[in-house]
C-alpha cells in the first residue's frame, strides 16, 4: 500500500493507466471544475460571503470525515458519528445552562461543557471499539447499535425538547472569529494537520495503516491490533463530539432529533471521494479534506442554481458510486 506512493515515478513511465490518473487527480479536477462552473454560472460566487458560508458548512463534515478516514484506514467503518454528535450537542447546553448540576462560575461551566461531552462521547467510541475488538463483531453492525440507540439516548436526555441558548463564550467555536477567520475553520485546519502528521510521522499512524492493509500480518509483526482499532474509534467519537459542539454553537440551539442527522453518509462520501480505499490500508487526510470540499460544493452548486434538495441526494449518490468505482480501478494497476 505504501509502495504505490513512492514507486510511481519509475513504474508509471512505460504505461500510463488512465484510471490511475483519474484516481489520483480526479478529486482535484472535480473540485476545480466545480469552482469554474460556479464562477461562470452562479451569481455572486466570488464573494467573501460565499466563501464564508461554504467554509463554515464544510468544517464539521471535514472534522467528522477525518475521524472516519482513520477508522476506514483500519478496514472498519463508523456509522455512529451522527448520533454521537447529537449526544455531545445535547449534553453541552445542559451543563452551561445548569440543567445537570448548578455551576456558579461561568468560566468553569463553559470549560466543563467543552470537556465533559467529549469525554462521555469518547467512552461511547471506546464501546464501539470494544464491540469490534473483543467480540469480533463487524464494524458496520457494531456501530449500528449506537447509530440506532445513540440518537435515542440524546432524545431521552433532553426529552426531545429543543434547547435554545445564548452563551458567547461557549458559542465561540461556532460563531467566533480569529483574525477574521471563523473559529470552526481554524479547528478544521488544525484537526486536519494533526491527523496528517499522525498518519505520516507517528508509530500509531503507521500501525493504523498496517492493520488495515493486512490485519493478520500486522498481528504477527507484534502490532497491538486491538489497541490500534479501539484507538481509531475513540478518536472518531471525539471528533464527532467536537463537531456536535460546533453545530449547536452555530445554531444557538440543540435539537437532538436533527444534530448530525445523515452525517455518517457525508463523512463516508468525503472519504470515498477523497481517495482512501474503503477496504482499508490507506488514509489520505488531504484527500478527505478535498473530498469534503467537493461534496459541499456540489450541494452548494445545486442549491444556488435552484435544484431541489432531493435531487441533490441523487447527485450525491451517483458521486459516491463513481468515486469508489474509479478508486478501485485505479488501485488495480
Amino acid at each position: 500500500m505504501m509502495m504505490t506512493q513512492t514507486s510511481t515515478p519509475t513504474s508509471n513511465t512505460r504505461k500510463i493507466n488512465p484510471m490511475g490518473l483519474i484516481g489520483r487527480y480526479g478529486t482535484f479536477a472535480a473540485f476545480l471544475a466545480l469552482v469554474v462552473f460556479n464562477i461562470l454560472f452562479t451569481p455572486n460566487f466570488l464573494s467573501w460571503q460565499t466563501l464564508n458560508v461554504n467554509l463554515t458548512q464544510v468544517a464539521t463534515i471535514v472534522i467528522v470525515a477525518i475521524g472516519m478516514t482513520l477508522v476506514i484506514a483500519t478496514g472498519g467503518i463508523d456509522l455512529s458519528v451522527g448520533s454521537l454528535m447529537a449526544i455531545s450537542g445535547a449534553i453541552a447546553p445542559m451543563i452551561f445552562m445548569g440543567g445537570l448540576i448548578p455551576i456558579d462560575n461561568m468560566a468553569v461551566a463553559v470549560t466543563l461543557s467543552f470537556v465533559v461531552p467529549v469525554i462521555i462521547v469518547m467512552a461511547f467510541g471506546w464501546f464501539n471499539g470494544f464491540l469490534v475488538t473483543r467480540f469480533a463483531i463487524q464494524p458496520i453492525v457494531a456501530t449500528l447499535v449506537l447509530f440506532i440507540a445513540g440518537r435515542g439516548i440524546a432524545q431521552v436526555a433532553t426529552n426531545g425538547n429543543l434547547q435554545v441558548f445564548k452563551n458567547e463564550a461557549f458559542q465561540f467555536i461556532g460563531m467566533g472569529r480569529v483574525m477574521g477567520i471563523p473559529a470552526q475553520v481554524i479547528i478544521m485546519l488544525v484537526v486536519a494537520l494533526l491527523a496528517h502528521c499522525l498518519i505520516r510521522y507517528t508509530v500509531i499512524g503507521r500501525q493504523i495503516i498496517a492493520v488495515g492493509g493486512n490485519e493478520k500480518a500486522a498481528r504477527l509483526t507484534g502490532i497491538p491490533v486491538r489497541k490500534v482499532k479501539t484507538f481509531v474509534y475513540v478518536i472518531s467519537a471525539a471528533l464527532a463530539a467536537l463537531a456536535g459542539l460546533i453545530v449547536v454553537a452555530r445554531n444557538s440551539s440543540s435539537d437532538a432529533n436533527l444534530v448530525g442527522l445523515g452525517m455518517e453518509l457525508d463523512a463516508i462520501a468525503a472519504v470515498a471521494v477523497g481517495g482512501s480505499l474503503l477496504t482499508g490500508g490507506r488514509a489520505n487526510i488531504l484527500g478527505t479534506l478535498l473530498g469534503a470540499f467537493v461534496i459541499q460544493l456540489v450541494r452548494y452548486t445545486l442549491l444556488a442554481n435552484g435544484v431541489p434538495d432531493a435531487a441533490a441526494l441523487i447527485v450525491k449518490a451517483s458521486l459516491i458510486v463513481i468515486a469508489v468505482y474509479i478508486q478501485q480501478r485505479a488501485d488495480k494497476v
Binding site: F135, Q138, I140, I148, A149, V156, N159, I314, A317, Q328
Partner: protein, 334 residues
C-alpha cells in the same frame, strides 16, 4: 457435480450454533406471547392479533429479502428508502387502476434492486457502499416524485383493498407475507438456487470455481430484495391511504435486526427463512408489549426510548451471536 453440491450442502448448514439461535427465537417468541397474554386483557384479542399481523407483514417482507442478501455475505441498506419511494409511486398511479398502483410500486422496487445488483456485480463495489448510495438516490427520488409531502391514494379504484381488507378473515398483507415466506423457504431449502446463495456467502471465489453463476445469483438476490421492499411500499401506501416519502427511514435497520435475531450470520453462508420470520415477529411483539405497557400507565415510555431499546436489543443479539460463532469455530477445530 451433484456429489460436490451434496457434500457442500451438508457443510454449509452449521448444526450447533444456527439451530440453537433459531430455537432461541421461537422460545423467546413463545415466552413473550405468554407474558403478554397473562399480563394484558386484550393481548390475544382478534383485533390486536390482526392489526399486529397487518402492520408487521411489511417488516416481515423486507426482512425476508434482507435475509437472502445477508446469506450471500452482502447487505441491502436501500430497502427502507425503496419502500418509501415505492409507496409514493403506487400512490401516484393508484387513481388509474388498482393494478397500476400495485405493479408500479413493485416495478420501482425491482428497478432499484437491479441497480443494486448491477453496482455490486459489474462495478464490484461493496454492497454496503452500493446500497448506501442507492438508499440516498431512492430517498431523493421519492421526495422529488411526492414533492416533499405525502401523496394521498385513490379510494375509488380499490387500491386500498390490498392493505386494509381481509381474505377469509385474515388480513391480505399477512397472506402476502405468508406466500412470500413459503416461496422463500422453497427457494432456500428445496432449490439449487438456495444452495448457490449459501455457497456464495461462504466464499465467492470458491463458489465461482465450483462453476456457480455468482453474478447472476447475486443479481437475482438483490432484485428480489428490491422487489419485496417495493411490495412493502405498496402495502404501506394502501394500508395508510398515502404514499409517504419519509416513512421508510430506518426500516433497513429493523430488517437487519430481524435477520440477525433470526440467527442468520451476518458473515453469510448460512441462514433460515423460518427463523427470520420469527425474528421479525419477535421485534414486532417487543413493541406491541411496550405499547401495552404505555397503555397500562405503569411506565411512561416516550417514543424516544424505542430507539434506545431497539439498539440495546440489537446489541444483545449480536453479542450472543458472536459467542455462538466462537463456540462453533472451536467445535469445528478452526
Amino acid at each position: 457435480m451433484n456429489a460436490i453440491l451434496k457434500t457442500a450442502a451438508k457443510t454449509f448448514t452449521p448444526k450447533s450454533s444456527g439451530d440453537l439461535a433459531r430455537l432461541g427465537v421461537f422460545v423467546a417468541l413463545a415466552g413473550l406471547i405468554l407474558f403478554g397474554a397473562l399480563r394484558y386483557d386484550n393481548f390475544l384479542s382478534p383485533f390486536n392479533i390482526l392489526s399486529f399481523l397487518r402492520y408487521n407483514s411489511m417488516f416481515a417482507l423486507i426482512a425476508l429479502g434482507m435475509a437472502f442478501v445477508i446469506m450471500t455475505g452482502g447487505i441491502d441498506l436501500s430497502v427502507g428508502a425503496v419502500a418509501a419511494m415505492s409507496s409514493v409511486v403506487a400512490a401516484l398511479l393508484s387513481p388509474y387502476h388498482w393494478f397500476a398502483g400495485l405493479s408500479g410500486g413493485l416495478a420501482a422496487g425491482l428497478v432499484v434492486g437491479l441497480i443494486n445488483g448491477f453496482i455490486v456485480t459489474k462495478m464490484r463495489i461493496q454492497p454496503f457502499i452500493a446500497t448506501l448510495a442507492t438508499m440516498l438516490a431512492a430517498y431523493g427520488t421519492g421526495l422529488l416524485l411526492a414533492d416533499n409531502q405525502s401523496v394521498s391514494v385513490s379510494y375509488d379504484t380499490g387500491f386500498t383493498i390490498i392493505g386494509q381488507d381481509d381474505f377469509l378473515g385474515f388480513p391480505i398483507p399477512a397472506w402476502i407475507a405468508i406466500v412470500a415466506y413459503i416461496v422463500g423457504w422453497i427457494v432456500l431449502e428445496r432449490r439449487a438456487l438456495g444452495r448457490h446463495i449459501l455457497a456464495i456467502g461462504d466464499g465467492e471465489a470458491t463458489a465461482s470455481l465450483m462453476g456457480l453463476k455468482v453474478d447472476r445469483t447475486l443479481l437475482a438476490v438483490y432484485a428480489a430484495s428490491g422487489f419485496l421492499a417495493g411490495l412493502a411500499g405498496v402495502i404501506l401506501a394502501s394500508q395508510f391511504g398515502a404514499g409517504q416519502p419519509t416513512e421508510g427511514v430506518g426500516w433497513e435497520l429493523f430488517a437487519i435486526a430481524s435477520v440477525v435475531v433470526g440467527g442468520t450470520l451476518l458473515t453469510g453462508g448460512s441462514g433460515s427463512v423460518g427463523a427470520t420470520l420469527g425474528g421479525a415477529l419477535l421485534l414486532g411483539i417487543v413493541f406491541n408489549i411496550l405499547n401495552f405497557e404505555n397503555g397500562l400507565g405503569v411506565i411512561s415510555l416516550s417514543a424516544y426510548w424505542q430507539s434506545v431499546i431497539r439498539g440495546s436489543f440489537l446489541l444483545v443479539v449480536v453479542i450472543l451471536q458472536a459467542g455462538l460463532v466462537k463456540k462453533q469455530d472451536k467445535a469445528s477445530g478452526m
